[in-house]
Symmetry: C2
Subunit: 241 residues, 2 copies
């Protein structure tokens, strides 16, 4: 069997009981090396298959081959495995091959939720996730989603906001949303969520420092009602207080 496990933002504290138990019971653990390293103290006596970035298809095919031999396999992703993680790819491959292989998806705390908890309560109202990576999605689709999401006044959580190869995407995204976002809109930035080097900062939309953002960062842009108070970023749901 294959269990596809979201390990949360990065510390055991934010893993679910179910995820911890599944890892404990697994015989083989497969994942991107950075995620494997996050949970390495839980992996004594297990067969470990680490691989690099952009090897997702190979990783999932390998997991399936090992599971076919009858072993209990855990595929780990950070955050939730069903959000830009490995759950989709495993299920695509298993169903395409018509395999009779039990697959279980074990949910986890994704980066937007983990990051929001550190900032205060920025995603209390309708929000969306948009990945700025155009490795698998045409940039035109991403631009359209940014524009319509901003027009709809969603709180917007940006995944994969900025990498070395795509250092200009974040700035372009902010330009696209600018007609709909007041320059005073709070923007929350959280780096290395749940890890020792965790950092947060809240700035204004119109004074955004793009250099501060890298691939380990979650960017949360408020809606028209979002405000900051005492260092918290808060999106009211609408109660009279």
């Amino acid at each position: 069997m294959i269990e596809i496990i979201g390990i949360g933002p990065g510390s055991k504290a934010t893993m679910t009981l179910e995820a911890i138990e599944a890892i404990e019971k697994a015989e083989v653990i497969i994942g991107y090396k950075t995620y494997i390293d996050l949970i390495k103290e839980m992996l004594q006596d297990k067969q470990i298959v680490r691989n690099g970035m952009r090897q997702e298809v190979e990783r999932c095919k390998e997991a399936i081959e090992i599971a076919k031999t009858g072993k209990r396999v855990a595929v780990v992703s950070s955050g939730d495995s069903g959000i830009y993680g490995m759950a989709g790819l495993i299920l695509e491959l298993v169903t395409k091959e018509g395999l009779d292989l039990p697959v279980k998806v074990i949910p986890g705390v994704t980066a937007s939720i983990g990051g929001a908890s550190i900032l205060g309560a920025p995603i209390m109202h309708d929000f969306c996730h948009i990945s700025l990576s155009d490795l698998l999605t045409p940039w035109e689709v991403i631009e359209k989603r940014l524009r319509l999401a901003a027009e709809a006044d969603f709180v917007i959580c940006l995944y994969n906001p900025r990498s070395k190869g795509r250092s200009g995407h974040l700035e372009k995204a902010f330009e696209i949303m600018a007609p709909y976002k007041n320059p005073n809109t709070p923007v929350g930035i959280i780096k290395n969520i749940g890890r020792a080097e965790e950092e947060k900062c809240i700035m204004k939309y119109g004074e955004m420092n793009y250099e501060q953002v890298d691939m380990t960062t979650m960017v949360i842009i408020g809606n028209k009602s979002t405000y900051t108070a005492d260092g918290y970023m808060i999106t009211p749901r609408g109660y009279s207080v």
Copy 2:
């Protein structure tokens, strides 16, 4: 101090270690009675304050009053406390009063993520959350978000999809999104996520049975690429497989 805790969809298995520990350490537990009942076996020897629906402001004010006496208070929400939960309201009240009261938000697995894991992998690409409750949000805002989210081809997760007082909202929402959603788009429906009575079903957008949906239900509407295979609902991220 106040800890605002997301207890996940409904079973201890989907709670994080951090949430379990915070509940164990708390002296007073406050929450909507249905959520308190979900975790009642963890609450021996604790002071419990249960209250009803639509008493959110009173509940949070009471939590703050008790915390001011020096007690360690846990406010529990199902799912994640920062998503349509109690985190925003507590922080609004604490900052408005200018209180020097430590507040910690402990994230949890929200219903869309829990529901997605049961359906397969429907939220693998950009998605949004929209609540259909117009108790605190004007219906026009909800309509606008539905229309723009459908036009942007987000996977759409509907919270509070249908209650006795608002039995027509879901059907209206489907009408608004219809120009952008192919009638064959898969729609996943999950009831009582993580509880003994959990039920799931996948239907087509054009053949939606609104009667099957109530307030305990999560509705996940696919994007243009979402498909079903072997009973799973899958939104591909875009890998070549």
